[in-house]
């Protein structure tokens, strides 16, 4: 189990039943499991609607920004980032409104 703090904003929360923040115990191994494992778990366990608007292939849909511990996940190896206990991961949609 790895305990993570997940946050959703910019309209992303609409796909997760309006939840803006949730602490979850994910049945993955800290230090070994990566974002590549977390995304499908979120899709299968947390996502409430329209999975095609969350994932595209094995990553998030282009236009969704991800931050790991307050930094752009592109700086942290994106899909290959190894999850640690109490990581904070933020998903922000850029596709909503203007």
């Amino acid at each position: 189990m790895v305990s993570l703090e997940l946050r959703f904003s910019g309209g992303m929360e609409l796909l997760f039943g309006g939840t803006k923040a949730v602490t979850v115990d994910v049945p993955l191994k800290a230090g070994a499991a990566t974002m590549r494992d977390l995304l499908p778990w979120m899709r299968d366990h947390l996502l409430k609607e329209r999975p095609e608007l969350f994932m595209d292939g094995d990553s998030v849909r282009p236009g969704i920004l991800v931050l790991i511990n307050d930094a752009d996940w592109e700086l942290e190896g994106d899909l290959e980032y190894a999850l640690k206990a109490s990581d904070e991961i933020v998903f922000i949609s850029t596709l909503h409104g203007g």
Binding site: G10, P62, G63, L75, G97
Partner: protein
Amino acid sequence: MPACQRCTTARAALKRPKTGESVCKACFYLAFETEIHETITTNHLFRRGEKVAIGASGGKDSTVLAHVLHLLNQRYDYGLDLVLLSVDEGITGYRDDSLATVQRNQVQYGLPLKIVSYGDLYGWTMDEIVAQVGLKNNCTFCGVFRRQALDRGAVLLGVDHIVTGHNADDIAETVLMNILRGDIARLQRCTSILNNNDGTIKRSKPFKYTYEKEIVMYAYFKNLDYFSTECIYAPQAYRGYARTFLKDLEAIRPSAILDIIHSGEAFAAPSDPPSAKTTAAPAHAHGEKPAQRDAGECERCGYMSSQRVCKACVLLEGLNRGLPRLGIGKTDRLRRRHNLHEATSPETLGRTIEHMANVRLEAARASPAAAASPPTPPPPAGAAGVGVGEPSTALSAPSAAAATARGVGVANNDAPRLASRGALMEL
């Protein structure tokens, strides 16, 4: 955990899509703000003393635009009189919530806010329009009505210039769609950062070269309060295929966004597209096309229109007559079938849009400071002096030189119209 490539000390927080650079928050803020300042100055978007309305929807782009313009106006002393201008389309559960966001922005930045509503202007809210026309052409009504609502709000405020939050991704998307449609005239309009030539109020897009990703990251890191629910009446949630395609391209090669904007500019540059009038002539001979008029005014409402009656007035007539396809389908055919001439006497039209001449008078009455004592040469009385004419195009040489000397792309127009600010603090 990579370090910032600019200051080399702080932890990097963002990979910039434009450059691939890793930057910390502080270096990102400075780069983001400075690049927008440079866009403003190199394109001479503003004049000193200009009254500028920020088209504010409560969404991410206009919220960040209001924040950054407010900040740059102070940091570089542009001397702008900034106001927020919002359109209330009358969409329950959508616009009322986003307007609450704009109202919070108004307080945060101390900027006056004006809200113009479809209900007041047209006698129809979007809720009522959708109840009549359904969900098929509702976005056409909304788009036509919004553009005119912003212009009318600007006249009421005595504004010289409207800025909108269109970002690089939006513009690249529009370029793609206009290229696919072969619409060169529109391609030109969508790529130009400043439109100041068609009889309406000057409009510009200071975020033309600003990536959506950076706007969203800026709002997130700075904790700016914005509204992000989709319009309940725009069913295709995520703006369609062009947007998806663009985001896919950007994921592979982030510079694609700017490349597309630049190719749009290159397409538009050789310009002088064949005049619509000449090409439309044969159709006119068959009596299908109404006569085109150059930069005329709508004979019903006085709004700038190349047709006798502007699109908003035709759509409104259709709503009032229970013929919502008027102005959307084959308008002329519908008019013949129902025996409705364009020059119908106003009494049979039902509710019409207030004539622009009255709006200008109203503006002059409401804020005498803005209208009655304009800064430099007072416009002729007939123009009511609320900045709908274009006194701005004639930039006097000394003031341009002064602006250059100060290193700021805003011209020097000695008497900023700040006096009217108090009068505009209205909801």
